[in-house]
């Protein structure tokens, strides 16, 4: 689908809609910056993991979780700028075909958090076309909020990795994640049932 016909949505609204749909302790990996700030603001869940660096690794981290726990659905939320840093991972995921991985790309065409500079892809590249070309056949632009929710439902019912991209506005995240990496990791492991608290 061509992005020009898609509605410009809002990251926090979309993230909140996604979280409201999760009823089975699905894991959610929030990419660096605004992406995980809005995940935090949508309400902390023990199955949320917040990245405080390593830009571009939301999909690889989510892939690792998905390979470790094939019976749990794993979502990854990533910005367009972050995805551009690690496009090769789309092919890695297409090759491995994890049945339980759902990738969501929030595309505003800018590095909002650093001063809203346009990305090199802005107005030039189509991230869904890149995903399709990387072998992720179940990739689509969401036309609007209802279409996004429909695509999420569809992604949760198929046995293949899915990628959903959305155009979003230039608003910053509405919250700020508590920057405590050890606690974030430990609580995530509790949330995934890997460990019990002390």
């Amino acid at each position: 689908m061509d992005t020009r016909n898609t509605k410009v949505m809002n990251r926090f609204d979309i993230t909140s809609r996604l979280i409201a749909k999760l009823k089975h302790e699905e894991a959610v990996i929030g990419g660096i910056g605004n992406t995980n700030f809005d995940l935090w603001a949508a309400g902390h869940r023990p199955q949320n993991f917040y990245m405080l660096g390593s830009m571009g690794l939301a999909f690889p981290i989510a892939l690792g979780v998905a390979l470790a726990q094939p019976d749990r659905r794993v979502f990854a939320l990533e910005g367009d700028g972050s995805l551009l840093m690690q496009l090769g991972t789309l092919s890695t995921i297409a090759a491995l075909k994890p049945k339980n991985l759902i990738m969501i790309v929030m595309d505003n065409g800018i590095y909002q958090i650093t001063g809203a500079q346009p990305t090199p892809a802005a107005g030039v590249a189509d991230l869904v076309a890149i995903a399709l070309g990387s072998g992720l056949t179940n990739s689509a632009w969401a036309a609007d909020e209802e279409d996004f929710e429909r695509l999420v439902d569809q992604a949760m019912s198929v046995d293949a990795p899915s990628l959903i991209a959305l155009r979003i506005d230039d608003k910053p995240g509405v919250g700020t994640t508590r920057r405590d990496p050890v606690q974030i990791r430990e609580r995530f492991m509790h949330g995934l049932g890997v460990r019990e608290p002390l």
Binding site: S54, P60, Q69, R185
Partner: protein
């Protein structure tokens, strides 16, 4: 060359080769997820890992990606290790400093050492010099393995230490152990 001949005879003896010992040590420590960026010296290890159904072995486009994957897997309860070459390690400083170290992830790295003991590519010899300063600047545990008779002890103990102390470790496979890569064409 005596080193190269010794290397060949070790390969011929199956499990007592350096790569046989690495594979068995990984298995004994229940490390089953092996993303890698390939390297000529690592080829027999990669081939045997692919052939063994205990392991999920696959190539990634970048070393950072592989680190992200094993970090996620660890948090999900599955152990992994990353295989790479010296030049690949050089791409990892940001990922080590912003993911593996602060989140206390027992990232296990096997690095095939290029750039020393007969290197023929100037760039490889330069990038090799950045590896230990990066490891030391983050106070990361690392060992350079040169002897076959020390390999199992160092690898096994280092993996166990990484897991129990929740800290990354780099195991550098020196040409004295593996034979390295020499100029042949």
């Amino acid at each position: 060359m005596a080193g190269a001949e010794q290397h060949s005879s070790m390969q011929a003896s199956g499990d007592k080769s350096w790569h046989g010992i690495v594979l068995q040590t990984l298995k004994r420590n229940e490390i089953s997820l092996i993303p890698y960026v390939p390297d000529r010296v690592l080829t027999p290890l990669i081939k045997n890992l692919h052939a063994d159904p205990f392991f999920t072995t696959f190539a990634t486009a970048r070393e950072e990606e592989a680190v992200g994957i094993v970090s996620g897997a660890w948090m999900g309860g599955r152990r992994g290790a990353v295989l790479m070459q010296t030049s690949g390690f050089a791409t990892l400083a940001n990922t080590l400093a912003s993911l593996a170290v602060p989140y206390q992830i027992p990232l296990i790295m096997f690095v095939s050492e290029r750039g020393t003991l007969g290197e023929f590519n100037y760039g490889q010899s330069l990038v090799c010099r950045t590896m230990r300063p990066v490891l030391d600047s983050l106070a990361l545990e690392h060992h350079t393995i040169t002897r076959l008779d020390e390999l199992e002890f160092i690898a096994d103990r280092s993996i166990k230490q990484a897991v129990t102390t929740q800290a990354p470790v780099a195991l550098i496979l020196n040409p004295l152990l593996t034979g390295g890569k020499v100029f042949d064409k």
